[in-house]
Amino acid sequence: MTLLEFARGPALQVSLVIFVAGALWRFVGALMLPWRLIPAQPREGAPSPVMSALKGIFVKMWPHKPFEKAGMFTFVNGYIFHLGLAIVVFLFVPHILFIKGLTGLNWPGLPNSLVYTVGVVTAASLVAGLIHRLRSPVLQLISRGDDYFSWAMTFLPVVTGLLAATHIGARYETLLAAHILSICAFFIWFPFGKLMHAFLFVFSRGMTGIRMGQRGAEL
């Protein structure tokens, strides 16, 4: 069995099984927890839970005025690599074919050369994010191993994908195998670390919005 066969076969199978089981374990577990955690009655004039949840989700998409200057890099850079990742993952034709193979869903992709450019920008943005994290005393204090490991698990597929696309460093099939194996590592780590925020961030922001709204606090 070649490295590529291993990557496309058992490695993908095992990692996807762990990903699906782990992600559903955390997702269902979180959603089935009691929604009303505050026994107290809502304050008079408090917005409805739905409105509070929506506010919680959308208000946090841009920094508050006092933090605009300090938080601008984090927000802008965050948008760049998140959007970049979304484009690379969901609009690169070979990736769409992979998803189609799993789910049967299909949609049009972008030209490869455009996706490669977005991939380079995404990789640069991820590196910039890491440098910012390492240089910021506050971020250093609140960063844990999970943050750095999750960063590495995200960065590796982008870099190996770019290497495979440009045929730099090794034969194409080796680079492709390395790329698929890095995605397998990403799938395995996803449910157990902070990468899970991709599924949970809407709910956690919504719940924060509901709690704050119930207490009459301004978000």
């Binding site: 070649t2 076969g9 577990g29 959603l31 009691p34 070979p94 492709l176």
Partner: protein
């Protein structure tokens, strides 16, 4: 024709001009990407070489490799090679049959001990003593070992000989093995393909005869001159791949426009061969040009790569039942964890209420 005359003498007798011979040497040198001076060296080497004795063994194969070589559209080149090598044993091409044929092989081995080249097409059955493929009651394995013992080098022609090919496809009922798995004490050159490109075969034999050494090989023992680049790298449809223009089927508008065949399963990106440059039928076309994706036939285990029409980026494993099971298990675990958490929370609230009641 004996092997005592040099190729130069033989060709002169046949009326082949020096100019034509130099042209041939230049062509083969260019095919193999040799440096400019190598053409002259190859011409001299070939002219002074004795006829190379070749014993061609056919094992678990379909004769497609021989068909490919004999029906080459450049007969002036390939027939030149076949005229100037002494093909002492070949099932399909030799006139003799039965015991006479086997005696011819044994005689050639004895006469050219240590100097003959063995060409093998087809894989070797090894299960149950190799009984699944025999010639004159002799198993392929036994015949290979006996013939290769005093050979100069071995050329494994076609994917069956080079990597086991279709006979080795799962579940490999005959225990088929590739030649280089069985021959470990002689130089082995693999020229895979189903069938291999005739020019690759001609080039390798010419190189071997003129320089007396093996050409540069890759990690799978394939000559780099012919297997140094992927089909995808040299494919004329590559610009469509970069532009994101794909055929979605074999009869849609994309197919008619000649778009990239990646989506319909082309394995060109991971297949090393010269089809896209040398092409077939005298340079007329190759499978991708004829509208079908590359099936990766010059790569090991190409038959077991999940299907010719499945895109390269899809998984080889059957994921449906495994993922459904994982989803059920994950959801059950999550529900169980949430239930345990709720119970713990209720117990805590009760405990708090009891404590507060006691304090009152």
């Amino acid at each position: 024709m004996g092997t005592s005359h040099t190729l130069g003498e033989i060709l002169e007798n046949r009326g082949v001009s020096r100019r034509a011979f130099l042209k041939y040497a230049s062509y083969v040198s260019a095919l193999m990407a040799l440096p400019p001076g190598a053409a002259t060296a190859m011409a001299e080497g070939l002219a002074n070489a004795r006829r190379q004795s070749v014993i061609w063994l056919s094992f678990q194969e379909c004769t497609g490799c021989t068909e490919s070589l004999t029906r080459s559209f450049s007969p002036t080149l390939e027939s030149l090679i076949f005229d100037v090598i002494s093909l002492d044993y070949h099932h399909t091409l030799q006139a003799a049959s039965g015991e006479a044929a086997e005696k011819a092989r044994e005689a050639a081995m004895l006469e050219n001990k240590g100097k003959y080249v063995v060409v093998v097409d087809g894989s070797v059955s090894t299960r149950d003593g190799g009984v699944y493929s025999t010639i004159s009651g002799v198993s392929n394995l036994e015949m290979l070992r006996a013939t290769v013992k005093d050979a100069l080098a071995v050329i494994a022609v076609g994917t069956c000989a080079a990597f086991g090919g279709i006979p080795k496809a799962r579940p490999n009922p005959t225990g088929a093995m590739a030649i280089d798995e069985l021959v470990t004490d002689k130089p082995v050159i693999n020229i895979p393909g189903c069938p291999p490109i005739p020019e690759a075969m001609a080039g390798v034999i010419s190189y071997l005869v003129s320089f007396g050494k093996l050409p540069e090989l890759d990690h799978l023992r394939r000559p780099k001159a012919f297997f140094g680049e992927t089909i995808h790298d040299r494919c004329y449809r590559r610009p469509f791949y970069e532009r994101g223009l794909y055929a979605e089927g074999f009869d849609d508008e994309g197919a008619r426009q000649g778009y990239c065949l990646y989506k319909v399963g082309c394995k060109g990106p991971v297949t090393y061969n010269a089809c896209a440059t040398l092409k077939w039928n005298g340079g007329v076309s190759f499978p991708i040009q004829s509208g079908h994706g590359c099936i990766g036939c010059s790569e090991p285990d190409f038959w077991d790569q999940g299907g010719f029409y499945r895109p390269l980026s899809t998984s080889l494993a059957g994921l449906g039942p495994a993922l459904a099971g994982a989803a059920v298990a994950g959801a059950a675990l999550g529900a169980g964890a949430a239930w345990a958490s709720r119970r713990h929370q209720q117990a805590y609230v009760k405990e708090q209420a009891a404590t507060e009641g006691g304090e009152k």
